[in-house]
Symmetry: C2
Subunit: 370 residues, 2 copies
């Protein structure tokens, strides 16, 4: 797979802010920089991403967790963007580097109108400054310096047989000294939103996440994270889950080192959780009927993101970068009044999947007929 990260830099991110106990490295902004030169002054290990990753994996106690997490999500962003681009012919991701007024910035990577990806965004950001009032209120803490970094992605494939997917991996720290933050925690997760669901796909997705959690069982609990995901990605006004779930976790603060390792492995498993499903479903033909159903179901996705998603609401309320926050919205959407699929159709069968279930305990005999 050729390295083919296309760059359309709108703004360059900030530079080193060593006085703030961390370096803002959310600002790689050119092909040469992203493709061959690591952000840090020297990298004796070589110039491939894998090697950079290896270097970054070495447990470090001389740089803050904030910094390690930021490096990780930025490397992960490139890896995911490249893999997704490998599905496309001429269409590539556009990269927008942006700065935040209060401090920090991010890199928004968006693909639109691809053959496979109708729209997708893979964003990283690393922002810092004084905690906005809205966050002071939400966290119930005093106004103090904060640092937040994370990767967030949403992928809307064109083919209705390929599920939409969302994932994010986040870190938050409070206090003056990022080497010894007053408080710090990790959050994240991944969830799958199929249009024409298959138990096989739901099971694959959940199996990957269960394996990651099980390998880090001191900090991660698949059953609890799955339940949190089911509870969170739920549309009460539709009495429907957003999709077949996955894992969701927040405020993991007890063991930062262990949670970082878990987050890192979870992030790296993302492609393994999703790509096999894409490869399995991409060849399935579809017509207007499937497309229509997909657009109506995407309406539910919009409803969730704008009515309920905490990240979206929070981002909008704190005056985050609108285009990065709303890049999660699907490209084409339909709302029909009182749409209900006819009984016995594949569309009505899909609804069975929109009730939280223990997919890993089910087999095909549990799935209702089409």
């Amino acid at each position: 797979m050729p390295a083919r990260v296309s760059i359309d830099v709108r703004e360059r991110g900030g530079d080193e802010r060593t006085g703030r106990h961390f370096v803002d490295i959310a600002s790689f902004g050119s092909v040469s920089r992203a493709d061959s030169t690591p952000h840090e002054p020297a990298n004796p290990m070589g110039d491939t991403f894998d090697r950079v990753d290896t270097l970054r994996d070495d447990p470090r106690d001389d740089i803050p967790m904030a910094h390690r997490m930021q490096r990780f999500v930025e490397a992960l962003q490139i890896r995911i963007v490249k893999k997704l681009e490998s599905f496309e012919g001429d269409t590539s991701f556009r990269l927008d580097n942006w700065e935040r007024d209060g401090g920090g910035g991010g890199l928004t990577a968006v693909i639109e109108n691809g053959d496979v990806w109708e729209k997708g965004g893979v964003n990283t950001s690393a922002v810092h400054g004084d905690l906005p009032d809205r966050m002071v209120e939400a966290f119930g803490v005093e106004k103090k310096p904060f640092f937040a970094t994370g990767l967030s992605l949403v992928i809307h494939p064109r083919n209705p047989h390929v599920p939409t997917v969302h994932a994010n991996f986040r870190y938050f720290a409070l206090g003056d000294d990022l080497m010894n933050p007053d408080d710090q925690w990790f959050g994240g997760g991944a969830d799958l939103t199929p249009y024409y669901p298959h138990l096989e796909d739901a099971r694959h997705f959940h199996r990957v996440w269960k394996e990651v959690c099980d390998r880090h069982d001191a900090v991660a609990d698949y059953d609890a994270f799955k339940t949190e995901c089911d509870d969170y990605f739920y549309l009460p006004h539709r009495e429907e889950a957003r999709g077949v779930g996955g894992i969701f976790y927040d405020y993991l603060r007890d063991d930062p080192e262990g949670t970082f390792f878990f987050s890192r492995e979870a992030g790296r498993r993302f492609l393994r959780s999703y790509v096999p499903i894409v490869e399995r479903r991409l060849g399935t033909d579809y017509g207007e009927r499937e497309r229509h159903f997909q657009l109506v179901r995407r309406g539910r996705y919009v409803e969730f993101n704008l009515l309920f998603d905490r990240g979206t609401k929070f981002g909008i309320e704190t005056r985050g970068r609108t285009e990065s926050i709303l890049m999660s919205l699907p490209p084409h959407v339909e709302w029909r009044y009182d749409y209900t699929p006819e009984a016995g159709t594949p569309e009505s069968r899909a609804m069975w999947f929109l009730t939280p279930r223990d997919w890993l305990d089910l087999d095909e005999s549990d799935v209702p007929e089409g």
Copy 2:
């Protein structure tokens, strides 16, 4: 214009609830009932809507304001539905009568896929019961019986040259005795959302509402209501108005009788505020470019309704009827990443209209070139 209100009744509304000091008349549910028979046992004045309206206009002190307002919005709904249907060939409104678990119900009138109206809803409801906790909190009152009735409409035309419009007229009462409520207030308004705006249209729309307000200046203040509309229908994350505004008012409680007369006249002026604009723009040709712009702009409409609209949020939070609340969402919508119209195009000119302005003080020389 033939009477052509098509009926597709899902559920019949409740019947008389005389023990509650009012009659639930939100439940007219058949052609014969809606088209020829008034809701009340006897109507000596005849069987046309105009006559029913005339009857309903007589100042009455023997029935509660709640009841008078409900009758008014239900008659207005039929009038508006009929007028809108007169633009269509084969497509007509579908009427859904629904009941609310806690008391009362409504009539949702929806048109989809018409030649002129791609999607539109004209809803009335009259609900009552014990104030839901969410409202107790919002109004800062004790839990007591409430009654609410109103009409709410949103029309999404197919032709991008014809503006989308929204209006609502509402009444709320608190207390055991609707003849002497502990508190009661009116709210409402109308706002216009053009895709390819014309000053002439904005001026026409505002002129109609200013005239109504001026005729009821003891209770209605156009300047104040216009400013409230501008403030309310604003998307802070886009730094854009939803459209060219109109009027918006709420909690008008000082002079119920005078405010009812104002609300009634405002409701009746709705068609006059909108239909001449439709007639003026309906013949304008459009192609893919205009259609695309319309779909992207409709995305903003969705963002406003789901992120900010109090009625939507409130309805969803209090578990109102989802399909009636969300019938305001446009039929087809697009989100493109970081969409910005090219300078000097009609699409970029449209943006000039999305800053609140005193349209009635402007003339064509104030409008920037296309």
